[in-house]
C-alpha cells in the first residue's frame, strides 16, 4: 500500500495552502459584500472581516514565523485528534472525488433510476475489484430499492435524465 498511516499530520494538511485559499476566499467575499446596500451588507462584511482575521491567524500558526507556536497554542490550532488519520495519495483522492462526480454525471444524463445500478455496479467492480456477480447483485439491489420505494410504493417519478426529459439544465 502506498498510503501511509501515521498519527502525525501529513505535510499537505499542515502546509500554509489551506489557509491561503481560505484567506483569498474571505477577501473575495468581503469585496462582494461591500457592494450591497448598507443593511444587507452589515452582517456579511462583519463575518468576512472576522474570517480574514481568523484565516490570517491560521496562516500565521502554520508559517513557522516568530510567534507561530504561541498562536497555535492560544488559538487551539494543533492538529491533534484529527478525523482522518490515514494519508491517501493525491491520485487516490482525485479518483474518489471523480467517482462521486461520475455518480452525479450519470444521474444527470441517463436519470436516477438507470444511473444508480450502473454506478453501484461499476464502483464495486472497478474500484472495489470484486467479481462481476457481486457487482451485479449490488446494482440490482440498489435498483430494486429505488424502484420499490420511490417509483412503486410512493408513486414518485425519479429524474429521467437530460437525454429523455425536456427543459434541459434549466429544468433542474
Amino acid at each position: 500500500m502506498l498510503d501511509t498511516e501515521s498519527t502525525k499530520a501529513p505535510a499537505a494538511v499542515t502546509s500554509i495552502w489551506p489557509a491561503v485559499v481560505l484567506l483569498v476566499f474571505a477577501c473575495v467575499m468581503l469585496a462582494v459584500s461591500w457592494g450591497y446596500p448598507p443593511v444587507a451588507a452589515r452582517f456579511p462584511v462583519m463575518v468576512a472581516s472576522a474570517m480574514i482575521a481568523l484565516t490570517f491567524l491560521d496562516l500565521w500558526s502554520r508559517s513557522g514565523l516568530p510567534g507561530a507556536d504561541a498562536v497555535t497554542t492560544i488559538g487551539g490550532a494543533e492538529f491533534r485528534r484529527r478525523e482522518m488519520m490515514h494519508n491517501p495519495s493525491f491520485a487516490n483522492q482525485a479518483e474518489c472525488v471523480g467517482w462521486i462526480a461520475l455518480a452525479f454525471a450519470l444521474m444527470a444524463t441517463v436519470g436516477i433510476l438507470a444511473a444508480s445500478p450502473i454506478f453501484a455496479a461499476a464502483f464495486v467492480r472497478l474500484r472495489g475489484k470484486r467479481t462481476l456477480a457481486v457487482a451485479a447483485i449490488v446494482g440490482l439491489g440498489v435498483l430494486g430499492f429505488q424502484f420499490a420505494v420511490f417509483e412503486w410504493a410512493l408513486d414518485y417519478e425519479l429524474y429521467r435524465g437530460l437525454l429523455s426529459s425536456s427543459g434541459g439544465v434549466s429544468a433542474w
Partner: protein, 319 residues
C-alpha cells in the same frame, strides 16, 4: 444566457403551437404545475380543484409541485412546455407582477403567459391587537412615532401592500420584515412586538373574535364593500384605490395556447369552481372563490401592471 434560451424556446413553442387541437382534451393527462411546496395555499386550491376539473374535462389532472426561486421556477417550467393545454400552472398574482415591476428577472415574461382563469381573490385587512385603544386608521397614525407593522419577506405581497397603502394614506410606518410566516407576523402583533399588520382577511380570521381566538381586531378592510360588520372599508376612509390590493390565484399556460383549447380549460375550471366539492371546501377553509374567465383575467393582469408600476419606487425600496 438563460434568458436567451428561455426566449428561444418560447419562440419555438409559438411557432409549433399553432396547430389547433380540435379534440382537446384527448387521452393525455393534464399536468397542473404548482410553483410551491405541498401544503401551502396554492397547493391546496389546486389539489381541491383537481378532482372536480378531472370530472368536468374527462381526463386525468396531475398536480405537480415545482418549487423554488420564489415561484419563478415553476412558472418557467410551464412557460417552456408545449402550448397544447396539457400543461397549465397556478400563478401568484400580484406577487409576480410586483417582481416584474421591480425588475427582478423571473426567467419568463408575464405578458407572454396565456391567461386562462382566475379562481380566487383574497382581500386584505388591517388588524391591531384586540384590547388596543386604537379603533381606526386615524388613531393608528395619530402618534408621533412611526407605526410598526410586521411582515414576512420584504418582497412579499403583504409587505408591498402595507408599504404602498400606508404611503397613500400618508401614514409614517416601519415595516418590520423577516418573520418566518404570516402567522408569525400576526403573532408579533399579539405579543406587542409590532403595532399592526395587513394580511388577507382569511388568514386574520383565525385570530378574530367569533371566527377564531379573539386576539386581534380589524380596523380597516381594503375593499369597496363592507366585508366585516362594522369595519371601515377603503371607500369609507376616502381612498377607494386601496381596494386594488388583492391576492389572486390565477391559472395560466405557456405562450400561444390555441383559443379553443383555452376556452375548453376555462369551462372545465368554471364547472369545477361551481362544483359542490369545491364550494363546500372553500366555505370551510375561508377561501373566497371568484371566477374570472380568460378575457377578464388578461384585463386584470394589464390593470395590475399599470397599478403597481406607479409605485415602483416604494416597492423597490429596501430598508
Amino acid at each position: 444566457m438563460k434568458n436567451f434560451v428561455a426566449t428561444g424556446l418560447a419562440a419555438v413553442a409559438l411557432m409549433t403551437g399553432g396547430a389547433a387541437l380540435a379534440d382537446f382534451p384527448a387521452d393525455d393527462n393534464i399536468t397542473f404545475v404548482i410553483p410551491y411546496s405541498p401544503g401551502g395555499g396554492f397547493d391546496t386550491i389546486v389539489r381541491q380543484f383537481a378532482p372536480a376539473l378531472e370530472e368536468a374535462m374527462g381526463t386525468t389532472v396531475v398536480p405537480e409541485n415545482i418549487s423554488g426561486a420564489g415561484g419563478s421556477r415553476g412558472g418557467q417550467s410551464v412557460h417552456r412546455s408545449d402550448p397544447d393545454g396539457y400543461t397549465i400552472g397556478i400563478y401568484n398574482i400580484p406577487g409576480l407582477t410586483v417582481n416584474e415591476v421591480t425588475g427582478r428577472d423571473q426567467g419568463f415574461a408575464l405578458d407572454e403567459v396565456t391567461w386562462i382563469a382566475n379562481l380566487a381573490v383574497a382581500r386584505y385587512a388591517l388588524a391591531v391587537k384586540a384590547d388596543s385603544p386604537i379603533n381606526s386608521v386615524e388613531d393608528l397614525c395619530a402618534g408621533d412615532a412611526p407605526v410598526k407593522f410586521s411582515d414576512t419577506g420584504a418582497t412579499s405581497t403583504a409587505s408591498v401592500t402595507t408599504r404602498i397603502s400606508m404611503s397613500i394614506l400618508g401614514c409614517d410606518i416601519v415595516d418590520v420584515t423577516g418573520y418566518a410566516g404570516s402567522n408569525d407576523a400576526m403573532i408579533a402583533v399579539i405579543s406587542g412586538e409590532t403595532d399592526a399588520t395587513i394580511k388577507p382577511i382569511s388568514s386574520l380570521a383565525r385570530y378574530l373574535e367569533g371566527s377564531g381566538s379573539g386576539d386581534l381586531k380589524l380596523i380597516l378592510t381594503l375593499s369597496d364593500a363592507e366585508l366585516v360588520d362594522g369595519v371601515a372599508t377603503a371607500v369609507d376612509i376616502g381612498h377607494p384605490e386601496l381596494a386594488k390590493f388583492t391576492l389572486n390565484r390565477v391559472i395560466g399556460g405557456p405562450p400561444g395556447i390555441p383559443a379553443d383549447v383555452v376556452s375548453a380549460i376555462e369551462e372545465g375550471l368554471r364547472a369545477a369552481s361551481d362544483s359542490d366539492a369545491v364550494t363546500s371546501w372553500a366555505e370551510g377553509a375561508g377561501v373566497d372563490l371568484e371566477f374570472m374567465d380568460a378575457a377578464e383575467t388578461s384585463a386584470m393582469m394589464e390593470d395590475l401592471k399599470t397599478f403597481y408600476a406607479q409605485y415602483a419606487d416604494i416597492v423597490g425600496a429596501s430598508q
